[in-house]
């Protein structure tokens, strides 16, 4: 039988067709639409780069990317830092002093918010934070005033960030703890006998060990933060007054509420560019660090 490589192309055929139809063609069409003015009916009218120049002058567009930075803090920076401390503590202190059962029970608890559909999490929190919801009931019980947490432009974004931290925290914990399984426990014992305190062990053993996972976690979470949609939809619909809008919600709103398809397509294209640029930047940095 012939073992030439040519025959393997047949196996790529279904995938190639499917990708062309579902990803390449729509992506190209979206790119084309971003250069037109179109309400979704009739024919798109070619307007060149007008949508993009309009974007650059649109305050809501800049607000949406500023809010993305807030999402990166809430979904990447804070969970990764807390995840590092929690996983190191669970592995090095709790796991060794109280047994692996306690450690994995706590790990599962932190992971629980990751399991549910993020929209369900958003709706649950939306109710908790409602003016007549549970958070205000707690605030009243401990003598604080009530507050419309998601209705006030000043507190809406911090509250969304809080919800996202709650959603995200379990992901780094689980990945980092899995990474730590590779460490020889004797290493920690030996370091301890040499008088290394918890922080010294964290610095010298834990951090270098989980560096590859830290890269993966920060990259995947950053992409997720750039794409975030469901929680915003469920919590605030981008409001009040665009205070919590993000690029994906901005694009959705332009497509399906304002019927500005060309403009929405331009927002989506800009978002794609940012995601690709950030990912390439990440991989470059990772490559340099690993050399």
């Amino acid at each position: 039988m012939s073992r030439g490589k040519a025959g393997f192309w047949w196996y790529l055929l279904p995938g190639a067709l499917a990708f062309t139809a579902i990803i390449a063609v729509p992506f190209g069409a979206n790119l084309y639409l971003s250069l037109t003015k179109w309400s979704g009916v009739g024919d798109p009218r070619w307007i060149g780069l007008d949508n993009y120049s309009r974007l650059l002058q649109d305050d809501v567009f800049w607000t949406s990317f500023r809010n993305t930075a807030a999402m990166v803090i809430a979904m990447v920076v804070v969970p990764t830092l807390i995840g590092l401390v929690l996983s190191a503590t669970l592995f090095d202190v709790i796991g060794r002093r109280f047994g692996p059962k306690t450690a994995s029970f706590l790990r599962a608890t932190f992971y629980l918010p990751q399991v549910l559909p993020v929209v369900v999490a958003g709706i649950l929190w939306g109710w908790l934070l409602r003016p007549d919801g549970a958070v205000n009931a707690i605030a009243k019980a401990i003598g604080l005033g009530e507050h419309d947490w998601l209705g006030d432009p000043k507190t809406a974004l911090p509250m969304v960030m809080l919800v996202m931290i709650w959603v995200q925290i379990g992901y780094p914990v689980v990945i980092f703890m899995a990474a730590l399984q590779r460490v020889d426990p004797d290493l920690y014992e030996a370091a301890e006998i040499d008088g290394a305190g918890w922080f010294r062990r964290f610095q010298a053993i834990t951090l270098p060990q989980i560096r590859p996972e830290t890269f993966v976690v920060t990259l995947t979470c950053t992409i997720a933060a750039l794409k975030v949609f469901g929680p915003i939809w469920a919590l605030t619909r981008g409001g009040p007054n665009n205070a919590t809008t993000v690029p994906s919600y901005f694009a959705y709103n332009a497509f399906f509420n304002k019927l500005q398809v060309g403009y929405g397509a331009a927002v989506a294209t800009a978002l794609t560019l940012v995601i690709v640029a950030v990912s390439i930047g990440f991989l470059k940095v990772q490559g340099r660090v690993e050399e």
Binding site: W10, Y11, I22, N30, L128
Partner: protein
């Protein structure tokens, strides 16, 4: 040991402090779930007189029943199962075929092809959604589960191809040569030699695709507008969107909607935590 004992944790009280701190953090994570449970089993009257923080006066299933009947939850469950199940199976098959050509066939230009799949994985759904929406409308697939199944089969298999191609890239040569000596065709080799060997990875992918698709929101929100086609997360979202729900129904709805994923997580906990690791060191 003559020196001062370096292990403050073993005998000291410090380890209890650490446990208390971590336990407290875990408890904080659980608070929203506890409040949800408390209010899901209350009667509306109990809620309006005692507020959200009181323990239920009696254990009521009214909220759960109301929500179930209001959204025809059994239909949503079926839709979610059909959509996620089809995507999981089709997505794994498509990933496997791609990865067979890329990882074992080592077709020319495979680095570029894998890079393309990786890019496809990064594109935000917003940059595809309007053309997909138009296409679905013109093919008569708008508001049908089939459109969502096709779209997510392809989107999930972008990641699956990427992962499986690298797994199959390290597939033991000896096994392939043995199959070739036995006169096995490529097709037979794929199903009789490759698939049984990488079955653990395939099952992780299968579960991942199922859960990821189950939890998807954006594209189903755009494509599925009808009560008869919507999925579990969408049902809760659209009812909330109508602002029709009182507090107890909201909590009961949230509880019912997250239950399937939690059950799923408990059943597949081992595979999943192993899978997260597979995904992480990819």
């Amino acid at each position: 040991m003559s020196r001062k004992d370096p292990d403050r944790f073993r005998q000291g009280k410090a380890r209890w402090v650490v446990l208390a701190l971590v336990g407290l953090t875990a408890a904080l994570v659980l608070v929203p779930f506890v409040i949800m449970l408390m209010n899901a089993f209350k009667s509306p009257a109990d809620y309006s007189s005692n507020g959200p923080l009181a323990w239920p006066e009696s254990f009521q299933l009214d909220g759960l029943k109301t929500y179930w009947q209001q959204v025809h939850f059994e239909g949503k469950l079926l839709n979610s199962i059909v959509i996620s199940g089809s995507v999981a199976v089709l997505g794994v098959v498509l990933s496997l075929l791609n990865a067979y050509a890329l990882g074992i066939g080592r077709v020319r230009g495979r680095m570029w092809i894998v890079a393309l799949f990786l890019m496809a994985n990064m594109i935000p759904q917003e940059a595809l959604v309007y053309p997909l929406y138009s296409m679905a409308k013109s093919f008569g697939l708008y508001n049908s589960q089939l459109s969502v199944i096709i779209i997510f089969t392809v989107i999930q298999s972008a990641f699956g191809t990427y992962l499986l191609a690298s797994v199959l890239g390290t597939f033991p040569k000896a096994l392939l040569e043995a199959a070739a000596l036995d006169g096995a065709s490529r097709w037979t080799t794929l199903w009789r030699v490759v698939v049984p060997t990488v079955r653990p990875t395939l099952s992780v992918l299968l579960i991942f695709f199922f859960i990821w698709t189950w939890n998807e929101f954006f594209i189903p929100l755009v494509m599925l507008i009808d009560n008869s086609t919507q999925t579990v997360p969408l049902a809760l979202a659209s009812l909330q969107g109508d602002r029709l729900m009182d507090a107890t129904t909201t909590n009961a709805g949230a509880l019912i909607s997250l239950l399937p994923t939690v059950v799923f997580f408990l059943i597949f906990q081992r595979t999943l935590t192993r899978g997260v690791t597979v995904g992480a060191v990819k």
